[in-house]
Subunit: 195 residues, 2 copies
């Protein structure tokens, strides 16, 4: 026994097959929509709709993709906190098994606290700096340039207001996520350790 994997998990029922395919397809489109490969959506869907953790070979077989592709995209899922590794005791050897993170607020909090928030902060500070420089040098400009500076300041501040709002929204989401993390026993914390 113990073929290469623990259990092929065949779908014998037509309805189950259809739902499975529909979900993976939709999640693939969604991932594509957000700029990722559609494979990441499919991988997540396969794990989401599985009652047991799956290993790489399971996913390779299920989605009919190469192992390299699966490995690469699983790493992006890990970096986003959308999947986590789980150790299955019955496995013949040291196999990595994954399961989907189903707490979506946790996921959103992870991704927002990472790159997005930093980019946003940087953009806002760049705008602030630009406005400051324009204000300070406005006096020394020609009338024509000063008029242009006024336009710049006006438009940049309008955009900055939007970014500040986005910052507020993201901060509230993060607060919500953190408040909800107390319930979860999993100490997810900061998993970003450089390899």
């Amino acid at each position: 026994m113990s073929d290469q994997t623990h259990d092929p998990v065949l779908l014998t029922n037509a309805t189950l097959q259809n739902v499975h395919h529909t979900m993976l397809d939709g999640l693939g489109q969604l991932a594509d929509y957000f700029g990722f490969s559609k494979v990441v959506g499919q991988l997540y869907g396969a794990l989401l709709l599985s009652d047991q953790p799956l290993c790489l070979d399971d996913l390779v077989e299920q989605l009919d993709i190469s192992k390299a592709n699966a490995s690469m995209n699983m790493r992006t899922l890990e970096n986003m906190g959308m999947v986590r590794q789980v150790w299955v005791r019955g496995s013949s050897s040291r196999r990595k098994y994954y399961e989907a993170e189903v707490d979506f607020w946790q996921i959103i909090g992870n991704v927002l606290s990472g790159r997005e928030m930093r980019d946003l902060d940087r953009a806002i500070s760049v705008m602030s700096e630009n406005v400051s420089r324009l204000r300070s040098q406005r006096e020394q400009m020609s009338a024509e340039d000063a008029a242009r500076a006024e336009v710049y300041i006006d438009r940049i501040e309008k955009m900055q207001a939007l970014f500040h709002f986005a910052q507020t929204v993201i901060a509230s989401i993060l607060a919500r996520t953190l408040a909800e993390g107390m319930n979860s026993a999993e100490t997810h914390g900061h998993d970003n350790g450089k390899v």
Copy 2:
């Protein structure tokens, strides 16, 4: 006579040049981040920081891109409602002039009311349909398949809850956008007890 365009709009001041370049660069990165061409962001930035409407040739010259590129990406900006055409009286011939839409809530409302909302609705309905089918056929399945159906239902409904929340958020943004026809200033009352 006249040059091909009305006014080259040269930036004589170093600070203005720097701010201009910084903004266009940042907006280019932002556009790229959202899956568009960076030219889209640069075009919008050029219009945003201009006190006068600009024609295609102005933009071509300013960004040093081909006319085809400018034309194509300007259309996507138009489709997103981020720029609008404006007719300039003094132009020698029939030239299209564009200006940037500066009401960002208007823009967000436009894009959300378009594709996003429909995709969201469709995704939710697909999930509902799938859950319904699973529930109705659950009885006729084998015990094993029924157990899987339960897992499917549970996970799909979890995700559906998230999508419903997103739907609510988008709906509230759309409501705000529609109500803003009269609101002139940048005072967006921070009505975000709920995002």
